[in-house]
């Protein structure tokens, strides 16, 4: 039950980075250190190739899934590759190493391959990203709204959506039923 204090330090990050550059160098847009994690930027179409390498490579072993979410960069101060980015956070359970993979998603609707075949936990995270940002995950077994009502039309975390909504609450089926 002993657990020495294991840290994902700069040299460990450099090791992971070197291995990635060697095997998937052409697919990486940009890499950087971000807090305790290693940040990797890729194009949306390469996401499965990069994620499966991170997961299956015996030297890296990022088998632990932590989070998938999205960001709408349309009003951000720094120019980005695309408007939407899907963000995956993975961990290596034995060393405690973390990577943040940021995949820029192109298209309207923004479309990216689903990571559910690699990490089962991505199922709800991707549904949430679809629910809030309207990002389409190809190959997701059950891509439907998760937190918002099923008859909702907008994507509330997109930057053009106002804080106080557009009055759609009055149109929900359950409210109409109460009125009648």
């Amino acid at each position: 039950m002993d657990h020495p204090l294991i840290r994902f330090d700069a040299s460990a990050k450099a090791k992971v980075l070197a291995r990635l550059q060697e095997q998937r160098g052409s697919e990486l847009l940009h890499t950087y250190e971000e807090g305790l994690a290693l940040g990797i930027d890729v194009h949306g179409q390469n996401i499965l190739s990069v994620l499966s390498f991170l997961k299956d490579d015996p030297e890296l072993g990022f088998t632990g899934f932590l989070d998938v979410t999205a960001v709408d960069y349309s009003k951000y101060v720094l120019p980005q590759v695309e408007r939407f980015a899907v963000i995956y956070i993975l961990m290596s359970p034995h060393s405690g190493a973390r990577v943040k993979v940021r995949a820029f998603v192109a298209g309207d609707p923004p479309t990216i391959d689903s990571a559910t075949s690699l990490y089962q936990g991505a199922g709800w995270g991707e549904r949430e990203a679809f629910d809030f940002f309207g990002i389409k995950f190809v190959g997701h077994p059950n891509l439907k709204r998760i937190l918002m009502p099923d008859d909702y039309r907008d994507f509330p975390l997109r930057k053009e959506y106002p804080l106080r909504g557009r009055g759609e609450r009055a149109d929900f089926e359950v409210y109409r039923a109460f009125k009648d």
């Binding site: 979410t69 956070i89 359970p93 998760i146 975390l157």
Partner: protein
């Protein structure tokens, strides 16, 4: 806009559909599952969440960094202090602030006390779900004592909002250390009672042993963290993975089991309670007088006495509290994922900052959201009554599940 494909459960002649929740005494909070049953055996499960969705992430983009602390109280409402601390930690890391020593010790003490309050109620509620009512009252008594301390410290029992970016709202009250030490002793007694009553209890073992087994591979793949992952043999604990607060100075063990069933998820919480009690005692020894806030009035409010008597402090007071792009706390442009260990697992905040007084994007990675998802996978093949045993052992909090 897109049409969404809805999954339709196929009904055969021998199965019956039963809806459980969202308002049901066995479903903690507002959880809802649709069960397809063959006799009393569960064939398939569909989970429906979102009944408590309150748009925390959208609020995070419109509240200033200090205002959002009040929202974090409402995520895991069994241990709001852990959320406060995790959030303050994330913003401080984004800004590159290190809080003073006394603040770190106080945060560690309160984080562990809050963990005790959460775990002790979680184990109590699990046994109550399985038919033992006295035990939940024992644990509620202990939690009430802890809540008394939280009330004396923070002013409220539940919506504590105790941390600030760069420090704390106020210092500890008089007699905190003495009272806390007393409560740690009574907690140890209750813990012994909870262990004795259930660990060798045939009825309890029959209902939990081998029920709801999660394999290590599934735990990793589903993104489980906290006691649920550690019961399945995944040694993930932010307190040992990364140095934060004063955890590197404390002596503690991270209990790990490999069975991954409901019983081990119960046992692991009891073990962690023991560890937390010892950590509170150790951390109290390290408590020394000193400042609790960063000595920089650009981030934290100046002392009231100075605000009233010194012009510069008065200006700082307004600069920190006023809204607008020129005032308030301004982290540098950038993004950061920062996580801490809360009772249910890893609570992560992914903050994208564009240099304004509010976040550009505030993602809350709540442990319950990913922990709950695994239910669909493990439930088929069990009896309906096992649903209660499994769900009780998961300790899902609807507030942080739906956010």
């Amino acid at each position: 806009m897109y049409s969404y494909e809805t999954e339709v459960l196929e009904q055969t002649d021998n199965t019956v559909f039963v809806n459980v929740g969202p308002s049901h005494p066995a479903m903690h909070g507002t959880l809802r599952v649709k069960l397809e049953l063959s006799g009393e055996k569960i064939v398939s499960v569909e989970q429906e969440i979102g009944y408590l969705h309150t748009g925390f992430e959208k609020l995070g983009e419109h509240h200033s960094y200090n205002q959002f602390i009040t929202v974090t109280d409402r995520m895991n409402y069994l241990s709001p202090l852990n959320n406060n601390i995790g959030y303050a930690q994330a913003v401080e890391e984004l800004m590159g602030i290190v809080v003073p020593r006394r603040c770190q010790v106080i945060r560690t003490v309160l984080a562990e006390m809050s963990r005790i309050a959460d775990h002790i109620v979680a184990v109590g509620l699990m046994t109550m779900d399985l038919g033992a009512f006295s035990s939940v009252l024992w644990s509620m008594i202990e939690r009430e004592k802890l809540y008394d301390i939280f009330e004396a410290t923070t002013g409220t029992r539940l919506t504590t909002s105790y941390t600030r970016v760069g420090g704390l709202a106020f210092d500890l009250p008089d007699g905190f250390v003495k009272r806390t030490r007393e409560i740690m002793d009574t907690c140890t007694d209750t813990l012994g009672q909870l262990r004795e009553s259930f660990v060798n209890n045939r009825i309890f073992l029959d209902r939990t042993q081998g029920v709801g087994v999660i394999s290590k591979a599934d735990a990793l793949s589903f993104g489980l963290t906290g006691p649920m992952a550690r019961a399945s043999g995944v040694p993930c604990d932010q307190r040992t993975y990364r140095p934060y607060l004063i955890y590197p100075e404390l002596k503690f063990e991270v209990p790990i089991y490999t069975e991954g069933d409901s019983l081990t998820r119960y046992l692991i919480r009891l073990d962690e309670l023991e560890q937390s009690i010892s950590m509170v005692r150790q951390a109290l020894d390290l408590l020394e007088p000193g400042p609790i806030n960063v000595p920089n009035s650009k981030y934290v409010l100046p002392v009231k006495k100075e605000t009233y008597n010194d012009m510069e402090s008065l200006i700082h007071h307004f600069k920190v509290t006023m809204p607008g792009s020129d005032h308030g706390i301004h982290p540098p442009v950038g993004e950061l994922y920062s996580s801490t260990e809360v009772p249910n697992g890893e609570l992560g905040f992914f903050i994208v900052s564009d240099g304004h007084h509010n976040a550009y994007r505030m993602r809350v990675r709540s442990p319950s959201f990913y922990n709950y998802q695994v239910l669909t996978k493990i439930l088929p093949g069990h009896m309906v009554s096992d649903l209660v045993a499994i769900l009780g052992s998961m300790n899902i909090i609807a507030g942080e599940l739906d956010r």
